[in-house]
Symmetry: C2
Subunit: 211 residues, 2 copies
Amino acid sequence: MASSRAYGGVSAEQRRAHRRAALVAAGVEIIGTQGYARLTVGGLCSQAALNERYFYESFASSEEVLLAVFDEVMAELTTAIVAAIAAAPDETRAKARAAIAAAIELLTDDPRKTRIAFVEPLAAPALNSRRADVGRSFVALIVAQAHQFYGPETALRIGSWGDFAAAHLLGGLAETMTAWVRGDLVISREELIERSTELFVLVADHVVGSV
Amino acid sequence: MASSRAYGGVSAEQRRAHRRAALVAAGVEIIGTQGYARLTVGGLCSQAALNERYFYESFASSEEVLLAVFDEVMAELTTAIVAAIAAAPDETRAKARAAIAAAIELLTDDPRKTRIAFVEPLAAPALNSRRADVGRSFVALIVAQAHQFYGPETALRIGSWGDFAAAHLLGGLAETMTAWVRGDLVISREELIERSTELFVLVADHVVGSV
DNA sequence: TGGATCTGGCAAGACGTCCTGCCACAATTG
DNA sequence: CAATTGTGGCAGGACGTCTTGCCAGATCCA
């Protein structure tokens, strides 16, 4: 059983990983367009052009697929945001705008990802903890920025006001982005980015200023 | 078949309505605590202490139950908000605070309603249109307030900025409220109301002032 | 009191999904 | 070439839910 053999020039582990990636990609398609409720083992494997048997090679339940799909999108998002912040000029509004633009561009370029990031995880109990983690990362990012521009003592003193404001901003971004993707918010994407940045800076300045 | 007879002093239509109400109440319990995904015909009827046969008397599918449950909570919410606004003193911040306090108190007194209002409908395609309606009502309420305090021409000129800000505030309220109910936001309810009001007024003033 | 109506309980077929097991064929190694 | 290993396809039992139908008992009206 332990004898693994190369096939088509790729090792057994590489083939495994490849199949898993195909399943995750199929999951992005199904969950991102039809929703987690319509995800079935058969549908996923047929979308991935893979045998049903291989589902159980990589996952024990369809919920694990949801986790993997969510993590996949979050990893892309984090990478994009971190890179954008690093590349932006050293100024509060510029950093904020770069981060928001990166997020909006990534998620609206592929509406499936908007749904995966903001819509589907809400109803899944297993993703609430991850959502909380993402929220905390978001807070940490803001605090790090505040640290840089306002000094460490300010960032620390923000406290629960900061937690509250971060959650509020996150919810606002999520709602406006999903509404925009749905077509319920008829503005250009540039306007979406610009206004999101404006409210972000407005709220952040208000919080820092009121401590 | 058309012959209806009184039973226990109540007419056939009253009995029908009573059974429907029991089913909706059971739906609030199940959807509000376990989620729509776990709603089944059998579970609903057993929760309502009603025979399965009566499910089909009032609903054709479990999705209709979700709609009815959502509408039920939204009706309560609208009533509470409208009453609170009417009773509040004639001043922008007071009106806003009253509306926000009414919403937060109603929804956090019964966490099931928070979930029904903000969490479950997201994943249900059938509720997206209703969500949009609620959003528009929310916008209309704000515009009506703006109309009262800033005059009609200002309210009209807010335009898409207003739509955007309303969606942003709605998302912020939803996110902070659900986080608070989950226990991820450790502040008092008074603080939750106060800070929500503060950001609301901040954003609203900013939008009106920047037109 | 008798006949009509309402109610709760249950059963059974239909349906979709899950998960495992089996088999034939393809590809690789020695 | 032969033996081994990987792969695709499919079938079928288990399971849960849906939906309709039937029946016995309770309730009401004449």
